[in-house]
């Protein structure tokens, strides 16, 4: 018995000594980063945000020379994770993945202010599309608009949730086209797209990549791309702009740190992120997951987030008055 206890105690001591040594060695190398960096994902495991973080982590590790630990802190539309980041020391050792919610939760009674954070950069983009069931009578965006004008409020669409990127996008569509539509919010993109594929609703607005599954299976048909130019993978599908509705929107994923982080740290992280996002391995993973690798640096991202907030604000107010 004594032997067992002694070996247990020895084992415990070894484990603890080992972890202690490891962090001590890193500290000796000096400059940032000198210890493990935490990258928080404000959503549950699974899904494109989590995937982006886990694919970026090894590439950032290689560039920065420090371990990156990916943690999920899900809850309340990402605001739990964002608020956690806000309270961390601004020393560059706590990072979080962000989505467009960072810019728009403030319009939905959440205590999330983009000014509390400094963006590091953008990692990916997921442009949207409007898709209809494959046997839908709508052959063009104009058919949809005409039907909605003839029967105001009878045309239904599925969205991945109230106040989500794609729900807000449709508010913009309603405004631009001057029509009334009925929102059926689902719990996430997969069920929302599947509902359109099953014909429960008249159309779906979601990421091109999220709809691709059902389009490939012959259940959905793209009606319009919400992009500037035609999608290279779907050259036959016209953009909404071509069809008279100047609407573009994309979901995106980026990385940020708490406000107050020193500028040299931000720049170092920003260039590391740039290297990671342009890495062929990352591009391959993103393309396989139907996401578009997309790079913006820290300064460009800050301007972009401001633009997003100005753009979404009125849309969300419109949805709340609905």
């Amino acid at each position: 018995m004594k032997n067992i206890v002694r070996s247990l105690a020895l084992g415990a001591a070894t484990v603890l000594a080992f972890t202690g040594c490891a962090s001590g060695q890193q500290a000796a190398t000096g400059d940032y980063p000198s210890r493990d960096i935490r990258l928080v994902v404000p959503w549950a495991a699974g899904g494109s945000g989590d995937l982006t973080a886990r694919s970026l982590a090894p590439l950032l590790e290689a560039d920065l020379g420090a371990s990156i630990i990916v943690e999920n802190r899900p809850g309340a539309n990402g605001s739990v994770g964002y608020n956690w980041l806000k309270d961390q020391d601004p020393d560059g050792y706590s990072l979080a993945v962000m989505g467009v919610e960072v810019a728009i939760l403030q319009f939905q009674n959440y205590d999330v202010d983009p000014a509390d954070f400094i963006p590091i950069g953008q990692a990916s983009s997921g442009p949207g599309a409007i898709a209809v069931p494959v046997d839908s009578p709508y052959l063009s965006l104009q058919d949809l608009i005409d039907d909605a004008k003839a029967n105001p409020g009878d045309v239904t669409f599925s969205s991945p949730g109230v106040g989500s990127v794609w729900d807000s996008t449709v508010q913009g569509f309603k405004e631009l086209a001057g029509i009334e539509l009925k929102n059926v919010p689902y719990d996430g993109s997969a069920p929302a797209v599947a509902a359109a594929a099953a014909g429960d609703v008249d159309f779906s607005t979601d990421g091109i990549g999220n709809q691709k599954i059902q389009v490939d299976a012959g259940k959905l048909r793209y009606l319009a791309m919400l992009t500037d130019e035609r999608d290279p993978n779907n050259p036959d599908v016209p953009t909404a702009k071509e069809q008279g509705v100047d609407l573009q929107n994309a979901s995106w994923i980026g990385v940020m740190v708490p406000a107050g982080t020193p500028d040299d740290v931000v720049q170092k992280l920003s260039s590391a992120l740039k290297t990671a996002v342009t890495d062929p391995a990352y591009i391959k993973i993103m393309e396989a997951a139907n996401q578009l690798p997309f790079q913006r640096d820290s300064a460009e991202m800050a301007t972009f987030i401001d633009e997003e907030a100005t753009r979404y604000g009125p849309w969300i107010e419109l949805a709340q008055r609905d």
């Binding site: 018995m1 206890v5 105690a9 415990a12 484990v15 935490r38 943690e71 008055r321 609905d322």
Partner: protein, 176 residues
């Protein structure tokens, strides 16, 4: 408060089969039936609370069955169930199987100490080393529950903290 009601009334020992003939026979002692007013009050109180807070839910969005419909429906159901409990348990009696084991003074103080220790444990997670605080708390709990001797008070807490540290901190990389 509610719990003390149990201690005040001497409890018939379940094992000594006071009601041998019919296992479904209801216990009709007044003390047990009065004790059943606690669930009644809880149900009705909770129902009213839900209804009051459901008033605060207001939405500008006009949809059929708005956000307050579902909670209000549940609030009314809770009140109805509370009222029904009066007829079922207070007026008729309690099944012997539903009478809990008696609590005792030492048990209640042990419970309070456990609660304090565990709340302190959670609050110290991100302050002290996880394995250290786990060691201390499991040692304190083991001692509180009456274990004596170095094996119980040192080896066991050490084992618990090592397993938890290895599994959660090293393998699963949980930020503790």
């Amino acid at each position: 408060m509610e719990r003390e009601i149990v201690t005040e009334h001497p409890l018939v020992d379940n094992q000594t089969a006071v009601f041998p003939a019919a296992p479904d026979a209801l216990v009709t002692d007044r003390s047990y039936r009065i004790r059943e007013l606690v669930p009644v009050a809880t149900c009705i109180g909770l129902g009213i609370g839900v209804l009051v807070f459901a008033q605060d839910i207001n939405s500008q969005v006009g949809v059929e069955l708005g956000p307050a419909f579902w909670p209000s429906m549940l609030g009314y159901s809770l009140i109805v169930f509370g009222a029904l409990l009066v007829f079922v348990n207070v007026l008729r009696g309690v099944r012997p199987a539903d009478i809990p084991d008696r609590l005792n003074g030492w048990g209640v103080s042990r419970f309070c100490a456990t609660a304090v220790l565990l709340v302190g444990y959670v609050l110290l997670w991100n302050v002290l080393q996880f394995w250290l605080i786990t060691l201390v708390v499991s040692l304190a709990l083991t001692a509180l529950y009456g274990a004596r001797g170095w094996k119980a008070l040192l080896a066991f807490p050490a084992l618990v903290s090592v397993i938890l540290h290895v599994l959660f901190v090293l393998v699963l990389r949980v930020p503790l």
